[in-house]
């Protein structure tokens, strides 16, 4: 039996307003609520609501045989509550089908694992509670922000009691091996590792509407043939992607929803294929071998390393700065201040400061609300400076 394992990432950062040097010490409002509201509502209309409707329909139509998983960041859920409660309701409806698994991550979609074990574990726990409160599940699968992963993370996640962890099926960790098996992280004894099949995932997420691609247009029929052709050479095909692929990155007129609509019945037409969530795959399939990942990997760009967030001196500086405030922030015991500090840990802020995008292509540009990485850094740093100043005044 081959499992087709879908996991979709749902995330919205708290974007910063235009925060000038002249605001430092004058204003402590960092977030651009107007922009955040309009973006969340726009993405909800184009993606979350129609996609959730279709997923629910597919689950009902296939009587529970269509099964999927989501990781919804805490910052996204906060913004759904505020700007698009109907989106949150539709996720709850999906949760109620029993066919949807919700995956645990850091509440603030942060890079805290790189800097602070305490902060990381706090945010994992916060998100775990949030999943339970919103969707009535205690998660058993974990994915770190941007699929950032190494042996140390696996060790930590096993210690925290999770059964499954997810990361990128990067060539350099797999070498000759296929991502289509369940593995064991090298330092772990029972945690299972699921690896993204980036070829097949990116066919949908990135290449679907690319007219220059020789496989364009991609039909459910053709794609299913690719999936079915792996029969006998794997136990799970892990298709991990941003949920915004549906309707936002790939617009509705590309046919992405029709593709999705037809896919489950095609896949299920083969008796050896079924859909399963990461937790279900992990529970039913034995690990084939060990994967050793001493250095960090991620799912970003062609490098699949940390360079999209920590590649230049601005990014390193901004990140070290924000995490250097941890002690002072915690001491205040001021929940609002702690929350604001944490929203500044969200990985997107550092991604906007990436200078690789001049050569690395459009993906960065598309997501960047700033004109340049320098504007992003300046704006962020101004806000972080103000936070630092507020902390020194609190003491």
């Amino acid at each position: 039996m081959v499992n087709v394992c879908f996991y979709f990432q749902v995330h919205q950062p708290h974007r910063l307003r235009n925060y000038s040097f002249f605001d430092i010490g004058e204003s402590h409002l960092y977030h651009d609520e107007a922009a955040n509201g309009s973006i969340v509502r726009k993405v909800a209309a184009k993606c979350y609501l129609p996609a959730n409707r279709l997923m629910l329909d597919l689950i009902n139509r296939h009587q529970g045989q269509f099964r999927i998983a989501y990781a919804v960041s805490g910052t996204a859920i906060e913004q759904f509550r505020k700007f698009s409660p109907e989106t949150l309701d539709s996720f709850r409806q999906l949760a109620a089908t029993g066919c949807v698994e919700f995956i645990n991550e850091t509440y603030y979609h942060s890079l805290s694992f790189l800097f602070s074990q305490t902060e990381f574990e706090d945010q994992v726990a916060m998100h775990r509670q949030l999943i339970h409160d919103e969707f009535g599940q205690w998660p058993s699968t974990f994915r770190n922000t941007e699929l950032i992963y190494n042996n140390d993370l696996a060790t930590c996640i096993e210690r925290l009691g999770y059964k499954t962890i997810i990361t990128e099926g990067a060539d350099r960790i797999l070498q000759w091996r296929s991502p289509n098996y369940v593995y064991r992280p090298a330092p772990c004894s029972h945690l299972k590792l699921l690896l993204k099949n980036y070829q097949l995932s990116d066919d949908i997420a990135f290449r679907f509407s690319n007219r220059g691609w020789q496989e364009h247009p991609l039909t459910a029929d053709k794609y299913t043939k690719w999936l079915h052709s792996s029969n006998g050479a794997g136990t799970t095909i892990n298709l991990f992607m941003d949920y915004e692929t549906f309707g936002e990155h790939q617009w509705q007129d590309t046919g992405i929803f029709k593709f999705l609509d037809h896919l489950p019945s095609q896949v299920l037409s083969h008796p050896d294929f079924r859909f399963a969530t990461p937790g279900e795959v992990s529970a039913t399939v034995a690990a084939e071998g060990e994967i050793d990942v001493p250095d960090f990997i991620s799912w970003a760009d062609t490098e699949r390393d940390l360079s999209a967030w920590t590649g230049n001196a601005m990014q390193k500086d901004a990140m070290e700065h924000i995490f250097s405030l941890e002690g002072a922030v915690r001491e205040t015991r001021n929940p609002d201040l702690i929350h604001v500090w944490r929203t500044l840990q969200t990985s997107d802020h550092f991604y906007y400061m990436c200078t690789k995008w001049f050569s690395d292509g459009d993906v960065h540009k598309y997501f960047n609300p700033y004109g340049s990485p320098y504007d992003a850094y300046t704006n962020y740093n101004n806000a972080a400076k103000d936070l630092e100043l507020s902390l020194s005044r609190e003491q």
Binding site: F21, N312, A313, M314, K316, T355, Y374, T378, N381
Partner: protein, 432 residues
């Protein structure tokens, strides 16, 4: 191809960006095999372009280029000079002033021609006013087209456009008009109708137009009603300068320096620089603002600085040349080009060569050609001040920006520009 080009000053006598651009471009074109005859105005008395340099504010001057260019000129270019006091950026008032000074000081001037050249006789006196002189220059310079073999004509900016048109009439060869700057850039809404008419006639009669940026291309289509299909954008570049890695970095004093370098005229936005400086100074006083250049707004700027009570934080250096330009870049922590309308803007590239981080206005060609700089709207002095403060305060910002900009600079070459110009010639030849 054989090119008959109407241009301006050449090294070692360069008074502005146009001369820098003409030189960089023709050098690269010549190295790609184009055979160029370069026609330029030059007074018989000075042997240089007639530029009374002290009247101008300028972006770039001679010294760095002074040796190789002459070797280069001898080797690859034929220079034809026409006796005329025309020079770039001249206006009627300056021309009159110059003619008076010229009459007074004719005998005192040195004769120092250091470039081998043939001079086409001016056939009599210079025109009594600028427009007459341009017409006179056009007819003398245009007649060169009957004597010099060429496949294509190429004229740079409005002062040489009448000469280009004249030459086209004489030789029936296609004319390329190369726009480095428009009357709309220089004078805003107060355009000189005569200049506008010359520009428009030139662009209408030209077989092809080269604009130094999309910014300029848009102005040409919007204000001059020219068909955009006729216009090719060729970005300027900067001549590679040996990076002074071996030399010790200039010692930067704890007081920070923010530089404005250019003509102090409406077009260059010096007033926005002053207003932004006042905002910066409201937050920190350890900053000095240098205005390097001259121009008709200089007095107004000095007055404004006094009004704002920030005179002691300002240095007005006057017009700088050669090594002084390099030195002031070397001493600067931020370079600002707040132009109201800048067709391209080569000086930010020179700042990058000196590892100085750059802020430019979005109303410039350079802002579309370079990524690793700050871009602000010229009128937004708060944002400009914010970016100045950021560059003065955040060292990683400065380091990454100058580092990435230096890498980017390697891709901005005159060779690339020359190839694009060559393509335009080729298309004309094919069509012809």
């Amino acid at each position: 191809m054989r090119v008959l080009m109407y241009g301006w000053e050449f090294p070692p006598h360069i008074s502005g960006g146009l001369g820098t651009a003409c030189f960089g471009l023709t050098q690269a074109m010549a190295l790609q095999g184009q055979r160029i005859t370069f026609v330029l105005p030059r007074t018989s008395s000075t042997g240089s372009s007639g530029s009374p340099v002290t009247l101008l504010g300028c972006d770039q001057v001679e010294a760095e280029y002074s040796r190789t260019p002459e070797e280069f000129l001898e080797k690859y270019l034929t220079i034809e000079t026409v006796d005329s006091p025309l020079y770039p950026y001249v206006n009627q008032e300056e021309y009159t002033k110059y003619m008076e000074a010229f009459a007074r000081g004719r005998k005192d001037r040195e004769i120092a021609s250091d470039i081998p050249e043939k001079t086409t006789s001016g056939e009599g006196e210079y025109g009594p006013n600028l427009l007459h002189e341009i017409r006179r220059y056009a007819s003398v310079a245009g007649s060169i087209a009957t004597k010099v073999q060429h496949d294509v004509l190429h004229a740079h900016d409005w002062l040489t456009i009448p000469a280009g048109i004249e030459a086209r009439r004489a030789s029936k060869r296609p004319l390329v008009v190369h726009i480095h700057s428009l009357e709309f850039d220089r004078s805003g809404d107060h355009v000189n109708q005569h200049v506008y008419d010359i520009e428009r006639a030139g662009m209408e009669q030209a077989d092809r137009i080269i604009a130094v940026s999309n910014f300029t291309k848009n102005k040409i289509t919007r204000h001059y009603g020219i068909n955009p299909d006729k216009i090719t954008v060729v970005h300027n570049a900067v001549i590679k300068r040996a990076r002074a890695h071996a030399a010790p970095a200039p010692i930067k004093c704890p007081v920070k320096t923010v530089l404005f370098l250019g003509r102090v005229t409406f077009q260059k936005g010096p007033d926005y620089f002053v207003e932004a400086a006042a905002k910066v100074l409201s937050l920190r006083k350890d900053v000095r603002f240098v205005v390097a250049g001259c121009g008709d707004m200089l007095h107004r700027m000095i007055e404004r600085v006094t009004e704002l009570r920030i005179g002691r934080y300002f240095h007005f250096t006057g017009f700088l040349r050669g090594n002084d330009v390099s030195r002031i870049f070397g001493k600067s922590d931020v370079y600002v080009m707040p132009s109201v309308s800048e067709p391209f803007g080569i000086s930010p590239l020179e700042a990058i060569q000196h590892d100085v981080p750059v802020i430019v206005s979005r109303q410039s060609g350079i802002s579309e050609a370079v990524g690793n700089i700050f871009k602000v709207n010229f009128w937004d002095v708060r944002e400009l001040a914010d970016r100045i403060l950021a560059l003065l305060t955040y060292k990683p910002l400065r380091d990454v920006m100058t580092g990435e900009a230096a890498v980017e600079l390697n891709t901005i070459t005159w060779e690339k520009a020359a190839r694009r110009v060559g393509e335009v010639y080729y298309q004309l030849e094919k069509a012809g």
